[in-house]
Point group: C2
Chain length 367, copies 2
């Protein structure tokens, strides 16, 4: 991401200023926990239909804590997509468990449910499923598979608070689900995260791991407080970004050969942290080369376009097990470009349309 | 601690309000890191004479990260006092290493250097040393022992930022040293911590463990910002609390049979998070029974007096190795009472003297 990305106009500036003033005045910023952390937990439980929201210092750690919560232990296997956030691979390793890589859906970024049967073995203890780049995972199908095989589902909803899939909020499908409140995220406290669950057993396992005299992985009152006004506005902001994403998709379809996150089902509500785009191959250049040129041009033009994840398909087989050829994940790792969510917020202003048009023009130059 | 403890008058209210207003206005609260985390790191390095200050989500995690930084691995042994913060024992276990318990000094709370020879074996990789309850550890002697035996020193300075011992700041003696910014601590962000080191190798090991796509154990900009005005005032506040502690010691010596943290050397500067008191035995009652009565009376009188740590001497030998009979640690675990640092802040106001006098009266009832 260039440093000169557009400001995040969607952050509720006045309410955040007011709540910070309140914390400064009453000294509650200096408490281990209290009214703000409790309120945030209550709001998260209500929003995501969970009974426990354990606040954490990062989304990365939230995934590790979720894995520990569902009972993953050293020697177990955990299935995840070969294209995913790097921290998810590391979280499995941190427990001494073994990542098992499966492919993502064609021209996309989310775990392909059709790969799960081939990945399963007796050591399989959990599946991590991430909703990524504006594409909702087939979490309903994966949930059913997990239930049939008595395998725990850890849902990584770090990129999609506010989304709904299959009639339920993203973040409500996992036995334990992770949220991130990192700096540029849709809900942000600069840093932070949470694990949602409705299982007392999972909540208890997380407590045993994290409580060491004090909570080893906490979220502060300051961070909790600034999230509350964002939760008030989450539905509104989700809708604004969805409209921005729709406008971008229309641009792409008319003008470009690149592939976006695809259209969503009528009953689903997507959420856009970053808008993923899959660049095509050309007759003379592979997607990796095309991507490099697009990113260079974007940097020169100060457009908020960045690269996707590197994927895990090249990781040593000492560290993980691979299922199949992971062809789609390889393509995703080479060809993905991400448009920052801050260009998706209004969708109706001249400035936004201008940025969208310039981004599409950039892509189209390499069709 | 009763909920009705006196307010922490030492927190710099106006400067904290001003800095939070600034973060709210410029949006820097919503960044992963930036000017505030960088400034805090610079200030910590300067204050403690370190080249790296890695910010963390808690002091508890800072100790674990310090242990990982100095190279502790599964199967190693780590020596610590049998009376210490519970998280330190858990941090050793979290790495798969083995805690080795040694005794504390007589009538005190800090690791007895004389026990180290008996604790040492080939598997010894590190020693954790905490400054506790107003008593500075014999860190200079322990530093020399560690150097002679090629064992790493992890200094837990969570309770004593601002203290100096043997001509150097507490927090500057360890190969890696931990600070805590927890809710009632002398430097507070509600939650948080830091690891200080001047070894690139240690800093690098911490980075490898913590950086997983994002920092898994971060401190937010909001937390970093509110710490800066406290660092400005740290020397002043340390001196105020030292005066309060001296007044309390004089009270105790005149009126009471209980033992305080002891007098410090001329060149040392103690820091008081909580002021430790060791209750005596009587002819008819052991210290644990006396303590229970003191704590009940304190609760009834709404005096800010709490209990010490439980100690590790009863932990299963499957979890740790014990060196000697740990007699002093057993006494500390049974007989320690802690006076909250918030009564030590002025030492000259009528209200403070009144609280001190009432606390001493409470102790004295059981002499």
């Amino acid at each position: 991401m260039p440093d000169s990305h557009p400001p995040d106009r969607s952050l509720p500036r006045e309410p955040v200023a007011a709540i910070l003033e309140q914390l400064a005045a009453d000294g509650s910023w200096a408490e281990y926990g209290g009214v703000w952390t409790r309120r945030l937990q209550e709001r998260l439980c209500k929003t995501f239909g969970a009974t426990t929201a354990r606040l954490t210092c990062s989304g990365t750690l939230a995934v590790e804590l979720a894995l520990r919560g569902v009972g993953v232990r050293s020697g177990d296997e955990v299935i995840l997509a070969a294209y995913d956030f790097p921290g998810n691979f590391r979280s499995i390793e941190a427990i001494g468990a073994r990542p098992v890589l499966v492919d993502v859906v064609a021209a996309g970024w989310t775990l392909d449910p059709a790969q799960l049967d081939a990945a399963y073995c007796e050591a399989t203890r959990a599946v991590i499923v991430s909703h990524l780049h504006g594409q909702l995972a087939r979490i309903d199908v994966i949930r059913q598979w997990c239930d049939r095989h008595n395998v725990a589902l850890v849902e990584d909803a770090c990129q999609v608070p506010g989304a709904r899939v299959g009639g339920r909020p993203a973040g409500a499908w996992g036995d334990a689900s992770a949220l991130s409140f990192g700096g540029s995220k849709l809900l942000t406290a600069g840093r932070g995260g949470a694990v949602l669950t409705s299982s007392e057993e999972i909540a208890q396992r997380m407590t045993v791991f994290a409580e060491r005299g004090n909570d080893a992985f906490p979220l502060s009152q300051l961070q909790a407080a600034v999230l509350l006004p964002q939760l008030d506005e989450l539905a509104l902001r989700t809708e604004q970004r969805r409209r921005g994403a729709e406008a971008l998709m229309e641009f792409l379809e008319e003008a470009s050969s690149v592939v976006g996150p695809g259209h969503w089902k009528q009953e689903d509500i997507p959420a856009f942290y970053k808008f993923g785009v899959m660049l095509p191959e050309s007759e003379t250049r592979g997607p990796a080369e095309i991507r490099q040129r697009v990113l260079e041009a974007a940097r020169d033009a100060e457009l908020p376009v960045g690269t996707g994840f590197r994927g895990f398909h090249l990781r040593s087989l000492r560290r993980c097990r691979r299922v199949g050829d992971l062809a789609n994940a390889r393509t995703a790792a080479a060809a993905t470009v991400l448009i920052d969510h801050r260009v998706l917020q209004a969708g109706d202003s001249e400035q936004d349309s201008g940025i969208l048009a310039r981004i599409v023009e950039l892509f189209d130059r390499w069709r």
